[in-house]
């Protein structure tokens, strides 16, 4: 798969203080890549260097195999959606005008822009007739960030950068928007670089996850690899700290991720197997296992693997005992 973004020995210093030491990273085209880390880890700075909101102190970043410093900054940014934690819709523009910001600059025809706006609004479940002419101040936080995402997608950019886009939202909106982003990614296949401090969010969204601490990339891997083979103690603890408060709230996908699914499909009658979603919690899992022998864990309708009582018990005794 071709590379969308490549960091080559990137350094960043603010006022002589180094915040990114030596960052090397390849992000593939069409990949959903999540950068996760605590505050001060340099994840947001790394993100902002991609669209040159932050300059590089040394090294370079290739965007679609081109040195980004050689691409005119506006051309670069017009092909890179950006979603902010503060949402930052332009308060004097309507919903439609906000979405139209980049297509307008790129010279897309009014008719085409208008059609795109309607399509996108429908896509995120907001009726264009109702929402097109609303002002941002008339929307809820979740609705505002939907528009924020549409604004980033409107010009069909090949890359979308998201800087902790859901941190300021309530848990329900956050979950809805996470699902929405996954759906949109599936539909438009852009490369997404997503920054968060929430490991659960990272595990749920990322194809691959990069874990950062104090300017260093500690591990870049699939959620499963990170769960099962953490590179060091920090990664293990960071992952551990993302535990649910209550054992019943642990979702089944995580059990499979950490403990691993059964190596082979069970050869029992179909009625002995209960199909569940990876987002269902152990609460559901326990009652299912009371009457069934196996759980088939699905993610977006796709089978991830099978769990039995033994796997769940081993997981609980090994990982959730503190």
């Amino acid at each position: 798969m071709a590379t969308a973004i490549e960091f080559q020995h990137v350094k960043k210093a603010f006022n002589g203080k180094t915040v990114i030491l030596d960052l090397n990273l390849k992000i593939k085209q069409g990949e959903f890549f999540v950068l996760v880390g605590t505050s001060g880890s340099g994840k947001t700075t790394s993100l902002k260097m991609i669209n040159r909101l932050e300059s590089l102190t040394a090294g370079k970043i290739l965007v679609n195999d081109q040195d980004s410093s050689q691409i005119p900054v506006r051309t670069l940014r017009w092909d890179m959606g950006y979603v902010l934690q503060q949402i930052a819709l332009f308060p004097t523009m309507t919903v439609a005008q906000n979405i139209a910001v980049i297509p307008e600059m790129k010279g897309t025809t009014k008719k085409e822009i208008s059609a795109t706006i309607d399509e996108l609004l429908n896509e995120v479940g907001l009726d264009p007739k109702v929402y097109r002419d609303r002002m941002p101040s008339e929307l809820s936080g979740g609705e505002q960030q939907r528009i924020g995402i549409l604004r980033a997608l409107a010009a069909q950019p090949s890359i979308v950068l998201m800087d902790e886009p859901f941190s300021a939202l309530d848990p329900l909106s956050r979950q809805q928007l996470q699902d929405l982003v996954l759906r949109l990614h599936e539909r438009y296949h852009n490369t997404i670089v997503f920054v968060t401090h929430d490991m659960n969010e990272a595990l749920k969204l990322g194809h691959r996850i990069g874990i950062m601490r104090t300017g260093e990339l500690l591990q870049v891997d699939t959620p499963q690899q990170i769960a099962q083979h953490p590179a060091n103690e920090f990664v293990r603890e960071f992952f551990g700290a993302s535990l649910a408060q209550n054992v019943y709230d642990i979702y089944l996908g995580r059990v499979g991720l950490v403990q691993g699914y059964l190596p082979t499909a069970p050869t029992v009658a179909a009625e002995r197997i209960q199909t569940v979603d990876y987002q269902d919690t152990l609460r559901t899992g326990f009652s299912a296992l009371a009457s069934h022998d196996y759980l088939a864990v699905n993610e977006s309708g796709q089978l991830q693997g099978y769990l039995d009582r033994q796997t769940v018990m081993t997981y609980l005794s090994e990982h959730e005992n503190d």
Binding site: N51, L53, V73, R74, T75, L76, R77, W78, M80, Y82, L84, Q85, Q86, I87, A88, L89, F90, P91, T92, M93, V101, I102, M105, R151, L161
Partner: protein, 508 residues
């Protein structure tokens, strides 16, 4: 109230002119201030230290008293509309600059970041994002500036720029509350209406706002173009000092000049200012002619000591000679009346103490409570010299000209300075004391103009010379009385005199 309405009806023409001037000066100043302050503030937004310095500077500018500022500007740019507009612009800078600067600087940084991240150019960000967000605050600044300008613009009348201040100044000068109220109320109304209009601009649909703005520009521009067009014929500007007498005189000048040559158009600027102010206006070509007094010329305008006890003829010759030598000005032949300074008491006070002459005052010195104009108190040929010449020891309260007559009629003071032709002498039944030491110089009125103007306009000189040796003191007192007390217009009174004395054919 009746009085107010009556004055309003009589003066409605003047009021419209004054309103128009006021509006013109105010809007010109506002637009210029906006053109300076808004781009400056936008430019300063990314330079915080500089912006701080500019804020300080504009605040300092605003603390300069307006009167002082106008005074400072006269030697630099003369008088009239230009210095008035400059002064108003200076006052309007602070609110517009401050609000524009803060309006943009205080925009949420994440919004700025979003605009940058979407690849907006500086200009696009400014017009699409920053200015729309800052607009309410900028408009608020413009409204503050507007109200400030319209209020301060009343002072423009002091330096000959006209406007509603003319009514206020005239009201104070003539102690006419109606005039004062008309000036003040109109100016307040203008501020309220325009402020509302600006607020409407903010909420109006852009198309409507554009249409109205266009209309205003066309209207004001049209007015300007019309006056420029009207200026194509030869226009002579004649100004007069404050008061009814100069007003009557310049109306006579206008009648005589225009009757003589119909191609010449005379613009009058009545109540234009005080002596030195008109003098510098004449020398700076802002006006062409104004009536001046022989005594004032020698006392204030030219250099050189004057011998005491000159006859009227000697005074005129000396004044004419010195004006020609020192300033290349020509003083035409004077009229008959001598509008000299004089001291006046009530008829009752005069008889009670058997007063006839100024010398007699020394006998009642301890009883005297004088109220005099500031100008008289301060002049060498006024109270200062008088006290020496007559060995008088009195201290006078300084009062506005019109107020001192009011005060003497109410008995709050008992001795005033006066001009020999003041209508109030008749109105309040006052008696003049004889200048037995011949202390006061002669003050004969005559048209003053540049010598170059005389050479270019022999016709006009001929027309004006018809007044030489005309108009007696009682004529003038009577005419002043008709204007001040009877509220007739100076133009009517002037015209009636000219027709009566065969200087002008009646009926056209």
């Amino acid at each position: 109230m009746n009085n107010l309405l009556q004055t309003l009806v009589e003066r409605r023409g003047d009021l419209v002119t004054a309103l128009w001037q006021h509006l013109g000066i105010s809007l010109a100043a506002l637009v210029i201030a906006m053109i300076i302050a808004i781009p400056l503030a936008i430019w300063a937004v990314r330079r915080a230290k500089l912006a701080e310095a500019l804020l300080q500077l504009t605040s300092v500018l605003q603390t300069i008293p307006s009167l002082a500022l106008l005074g400072l500007l006269i030697p630099l740019v003369g008088i009239g509309t230009v210095p008035a507009v400059i002064a108003l612009v200076i006052y309007a800078l602070l609110p517009i600059f401050q609000n524009t600067y803060l309006g943009i600087a205080e925009i949420d940084p994440s919004i700025e970041e979003a605009a940058d991240a979407f690849g907006m150019s500086r200009l696009r960000k400014l017009f699409k994002v920053e200015l729309p967000i800052a607009l309410p605050q900028i408009i608020a600044g413009i409204r503050t500036a507007l109200v400030l300008i319209i209020g301060t613009a009343t002072l423009a009348a002091l330096i000959g720029a006209g406007g509603l201040g003319t009514f206020i100044m005239l009201g104070i000068d003539r102690n006419d509350t109606s005039l004062l109220l008309i000036g003040a109320i109109s100016s307040a109304l203008l501020a309220i209406i325009l402020s509302a209009l600006v607020r409407w601009f903010q909420t109006a649909k852009p198309r409507h706002a554009l249409i109205v703005f266009g209309l205003i520009v066309v209207l004001l521009g049209g007015g300007g173009a019309y006056s420029a067009y009207a200026d194509r014929t030869e226009t002579i500007t004649i100004a007069g000092k404050l008061g009814s007498e100069p007003d009557i005189l310049i109306n006579m000048y206008k009648e005589l000049i225009e009757a003589d040559d119909s191609h010449v158009k005379v613009t009058l600027k009545p109540n234009f200012g005080k002596t030195t102010f008109l003098y510098s206006a004449l020398r700076n070509d802002q006006i062409d002619i104004y009536p001046e007094f022989t005594g004032s010329v020698l006392e204030t305008l030219v250099k050189g000591d004057s011998p005491k006890e000159m006859t009227a003829e000697q005074t005129y010759r000396l004044a004419k000679k010195r004006l020609a030598q020192q300033a290349q000005l020509t003083l035409l032949a004077p009229m008959k009346y001598n509008n000299t300074y004089a001291l006046a008491v009530t008829e009752k006070f005069k008889q009670q103490h058997h007063l006839k002459t100024i010398s007699d005052l020394t006998q009642v010195e301890s009883l005297l409570r004088p109220g005099m104009t500031l100008e008289f108190i301060d002049r060498d040929d006024g109270l200062k010299g008088l006290k020496q010449a007559y060995h008088l020891d009195v201290t006078a309260k300084s009062m506005e000209p019109a107020l001192r007559y009011e005060a003497i009629s109410q008995g709050r003071i008992n001795l005033v300075d006066a001009y020999a032709t003041d209508s109030e002498l008749r109105q309040y039944n006052l008696a003049l004391l004889q200048d037995d030491q011949r202390f006061f110089p002669t003050y004969q009125g005559a048209p003053l103009m540049k010598t170059s103007f005389v050479n270019k306009h022999p016709q006009i000189v001929k027309a004006l010379n018809q007044l030489a040796g005309k108009i007696s003191e009682t004529d003038m007192q009577e005419m002043n009385y008709q204007v001040n007390a009877k509220k007739q217009s100076a133009a009517t009174v002037a015209r009636r005199y000219l027709i009566k004395h065969g200087l002008l054919k009646g009926g056209h």
